[in-house]
């Protein structure tokens, strides 16, 4: 019998209680993992969107509460095109529409000559002409989940379109949505003369940083440039809020799990006071008693991490079965995220086990042997 076997045997003695504690911790781990997978995926998609296709950075309205609500007059687009160092500036309009059962279907309006610039690769069919009023390109994921093909007609928010091609950009939001002519989307949404964002590519000799700064200097409090997810937080305040909420939920879940471990281990130590006294009497050192109890709480945490990983991955993949989620959520699996969740679980095990283990190691053999 090894020390590890002894730890497992001890856990098995109170299997129901330890299983419930384990489930409590695994719920926390699953929450962290699920939120992390979705958040990381969101940030990856956002990063890809900000540098869509060949663009070096994006511009949105500095006052917009979220990118989706950004408004920039098209006259500014012309001004930006004329700035030194700007090789190309492309206006983009986007909105959410209802398509089939999905209320968050992403519609993106661009000029057809800018399609390649924003990263659209046609895998089927052809692009739409600039003045086309009812032609649309469907993203690969959107076409797949709606089971539609090029040539078919579809109705989006009450308006009929003909799918002329299928594309792929590699970005989950874009591939889950559709592209149409900028003029058509502007007219339909009554947003003539407006775009939501501008994608900018600088000339080879110009510095991205310098051009971006120049634009912000020219339009203070009006336009803001974003090259990365970090920079985008100036506008995408919701990202910070989402992060904070996800941390708060995770911490709460872990606090509850941690208290569960603490409670379980304190009970175990009380119930086994006499037994711990015997171990001390036969020569076990304090640190071995400490290790025994800590080992038990860490074993609970480790098993909980395993169960939590499975539950978290299953939960987010279950979420993706919902039609609207497919075009909005991309999961970003990363080793650091799993290691972080594992580390937090072990931290909970350690935090919950430390006090009971210390208490156990202070038990004196004589006091314990008198204990009934």
């Amino acid at each position: 019998m090894s020390f590890g076997m002894l730890i497992l045997k001890n856990l098995w003695r109170q299997k129901i209680r330890n299983l419930l504690t384990l489930l409590g911790v695994s719920l926390g781990v699953a929450t962290i993992l699920a939120l992390g997978l979705v958040m990381n995926g969101f940030e990856q998609s956002l990063g890809a969107t900000l540098r869509s296709g060949q663009a070096d950075f994006s511009i949105v309205n500095a006052q917009a509460p979220a990118i989706l609500f950004s408004v920039i007059e098209e006259s500014k687009l012309t001004e930006i095109r004329d700035l030194t160092g700007v090789e190309r500036a492309v206006g983009v309009l986007f909105t959410l529409a209802r398509f089939q059962t999905n209320p968050y279907f992403v519609l993106i309006g661009v000029h057809p000559e800018d399609l390649l610039f924003v990263g659209v690769r046609l895998i089927e069919g052809r692009a739409f002409p600039p003045d086309s009023e009812d032609e649309i390109l469907f993203g690969k994921t959107a076409a797949l989940s709606a089971k539609v093909r090029a040539g078919e007609r579809v109705t989006i928010s009450g308006r009929s379109f003909r799918i002329v091609g299928i594309y792929e950009t590699g970005n989950v939001w874009e591939d889950g949505g559709a592209f149409l002519a900028l003029r058509t989307l502007q007219a339909w949404q009554r947003r003539q003369g407006e775009v939501a964002g501008i994608l900018v590519k600088v000339t080879p000799e110009a510095s991205v940083e310098a051009v971006a700064r120049e634009i912000e200097r020219r339009y203070p409090n009006e336009l803001v440039t974003m090259r990365s997810v970090e920079e985008s937080q100036r506008v995408v305040r919701s990202l910070g809020i989402m992060r904070a909420v996800s941390w708060a939920v995770s911490l709460l879940a872990l606090l509850i799990g941690g208290i569960g471990v603490l409670n379980t281990m304190i009970m175990a130590v009380y119930e086994r006071t006499r037994e711990i006294g015997i171990l001390r009497a036969v020569g076990w050192r304090r640190w071995r008693i400490l290790n025994l109890i800590l080992g038990e709480s860490l074993a609970i945490a480790l098993l909980a991490a395993g169960v939590g990983f499975a539950a978290g991955v299953l939960a987010v993949n279950g979420l993706l079965l919902l039609p609207w989620a497919k075009g909005l959520i991309a999961l970003a699996y990363s080793l650091p995220l799993f290691l972080q969740a594992l580390g937090i679980a072990l931290g909970v095990g350690l935090a919950g086990g430390l006090y009971p283990a210390w208490r156990a190691s202070r038990i004196t053999p004589t006091a314990a042997l008198r204990y009934e």
Partner: protein, 222 residues
Amino acid sequence: MSEPIVIIENLLKTYEQGRTQALQGVSLQIERGEFVAICGPSGSGKSTLLNMIGALDHPDSGRIWVAGTDLSERRDFSDFRARVVGFVFQLHNLIPTLTALENVLIPMFELGISKRKARERALGLLQRVGLDGKSHRLPAELSGGERQRVAVARALANDPQIALADEPTGNLDSKSAEQVLELLTEINRQRGTTLILVTHDEAIAKRADRIMQIRDGQIISS
């Protein structure tokens, strides 16, 4: 008789902030290989004295040396307990979820011996106490006498210089009591293990080389 293995000088121990005087200036010597019975009524301080010799408890004052170790110091004596002494309690005090074999293995964790060697030694000890067929039984599946014999095997797991037995037959029927006593005596005779046995039963005490009578925390004859 060769050299003293236990030397105690003027040992004092009080409990409950001095209200209970468990030991009031006990002095004694026990030779290596001796079988000593400490005899006295309940509350006379005999278990306290045994706990001091086994380093389960600290004296308030006085000096105590056991197998060359000064136990009067205020420090943790786990290592001493792991290597020098073996305990048999009145209640068997086995761990209920561990088999007989595993209970005997428990003290060997501190000895740094290989798993295979520990297992061999434990099986040998169980054979010696006559339980070789029952090594995989839990304490609840054993009779009272068998449990106490497992406890004897556990006390011998570290091959101790001194075996300390506190009323080891107190909870046993006369047949089982006889078996356990014979076992302890045999260990003392064959292995030369010093045996210190606490009892209130004069008949049991008579088997010892020497009887120490203790009353109200003082040795009145030895």
